[in-house]
Symmetry: C2
Subunit: 302 residues, 2 copies
């Protein structure tokens, strides 16, 4: 079924222990759409400035991503992020961020043809913007999942709390779940978040995997064991994208389908961090995904 992704398109400047890249293609919407595209056709809502190279647009088009919703704003500049990862690759610092065209006043343009999408991923971004997009949909999607992060929990708590009852699932990492819920135990925190509205929560724990929690069920998945982490940028976004891509492909959202989608998301996110920017996703094949998925299943079956 149709998947609509809204998220950022950005210039990333990245330093990791493996090297560095300047102004490479990035952003939550870009990573998520690219990861989802292995499983299902994707529609992307995002915005860039006139400094966005057409070559970057072409790279997304190659992934069969519908770009009718990619707004190019004349006279504006693209969101630019610059960051440095520490030696452990789990922590990073933002060296510079310029929201530019994705500033506070940004509201998404949603093409008519997108408004009936049945699966919707609100990739990491402002809950104000997410609410606005929800209002523009012609009907409630079958499954709406939002990804959020500490910045929005701390700086936009009111819109975020307004968003939570309007989505089916929330994705966030473990420290963010504890922050949002004000709880020390991560599972208890996830349970508290369910009381805020969503039917399920998916908590990402980086190199320690992820879990799914609803009122009825819990599902666990370890991370795919990686020794070759080149650039962690986009790991969470590609996880969310692949998850929703796999769900849209299955047309389902029960716990069994979600854990199956989480396994695929784990594999795709594991590949993503093996290269800078979209480099690894752009060479990745469905056969590689299937092969690692089979290996992953062997690793965890008892």
């Amino acid at each position: 079924m149709s998947l609509l992704v809204i998220g950022s398109a950005a210039f990333d400047s990245i330093q990791t222990p493996s090297g560095s890249r300047e102004k490479v293609i990035g952003g939550s919407g870009v990573y998520a759409a690219c990861a989802a595209s292995f499983f299902t056709p994707v529609r992307l809502v995002s915005v860039v400035g006139e400094d966005w190279p057409s070559a970057y647009t072409d790279r997304l088009r190659t992934r069969a991503i519908d770009l009718e919703g990619l707004e190019v704003r004349p006279g504006a500049r693209t969101l630019a992020w610059s960051g440095r990862y520490f030696e452990n690759l789990n922590d990073r610092e933002t060296l510079d961020i310029r929201l530019n065209v994705m500033g506070e006043e940004y509201r998404p343009l949603v093409p008519e043809s997108y408004r009936g999408s049945e699966f919707l991923l609100l990739a990491n971004g402002s809950p104000v913007c997410h609410l606005d997009l929800l209002d523009k949909m012609a009907k409630k999607p079958r499954l709406t999942v939002a990804d959020t992060m500490d910045f929005y929990i701390q700086n936009q708590p009111a819109p975020l709390r307004k968003l939570l009852p309007r989505i089916d699932g929330l994705i966030l990492n473990d420290s963010e779940a504890r922050l949002l819920a004000g709880e020390k135990n991560t599972i208890t925190a996830a349970r508290r978040i369910l009381e805020m509205g969503p039917a399920f929560v998916i908590v990402k724990k980086g190199e320690n995997g992820a879990f799914y929690l609803s009122r009825q069920a819990i599902r666990l998945i370890p991370a795919y064991p990686s020794e070759e982490v080149v650039d962690p940028t986009g790991a969470g976004d590609s996880f969310a994208g692949a998850l929703m891509g796999a769900l849209a492909a299955s047309g389902r959202s029960d716990p069994e389908s979600i854990i199956a989608a989480m396994a695929r998301a784990t594999v795709v996110a594991g590949y993503n961090v093996e290269g800078f920017s979209l480099e690894r996703l752009e060479t990745l094949t469905e056969k590689e995904i299937e092969s690692r998925l089979a290996a992953f299943r062997t690793m965890i079956t008892f």
Copy 2:
């Protein structure tokens, strides 16, 4: 098949956010033997002082643990540990430790009837003592696994390096693996440890599960999701004990048997932390283990 466990028997004084206990039964050998006893008959080699209550011995005997190897040293006092867990339950501080009868000069007494044991667990303790026990065995056991910790990595590096080529498997936690190997990536660290001798390494990651690594295979398991952690003491020891108990019961040590044993170890360790000291293990039934094991399998199957 027969399982021999060597490890400490101790008085634990514990403070956790849930409460506190004074001089309760504890020690790596006690937890490991108790956890193993759900799966197989266990022989315990340990030492206590004359202050050790016979009621504690009786509690171990109730678990069908062979106590011929439990030395009661006249005129000596039992190892006593006192510690406090922080709010997050992952970190703790040792308030006091008195090695007493388990001091540096301690060498284990190994009954003749134990020396042909086919499965051997060197539960957390001094590698000097582990080497001494290995020398006293009548023949090389089919499977020897040692558990170690940061204290021995830092303070007894030479005996530990001598021990590693003489065991089949090493169990330790993730930060300890990185410390022993001098590597930042946990999987790379485990791979380096394989070069030091053992055929496999099992790395415990607390609430994030564990993994098994050999030259040929890797296996992953998440932790059982716990919200009711009362006392984390003995989590690692009961994991190691249940693991070896399940392996001894199966008589096997291939990766499939080890991941199956790790699942059981995860479940038993998860139960153990629901009460202080041995309280929860002493009421635990095989039916409860089977039931949680089935639930656990459902949680991770995709």
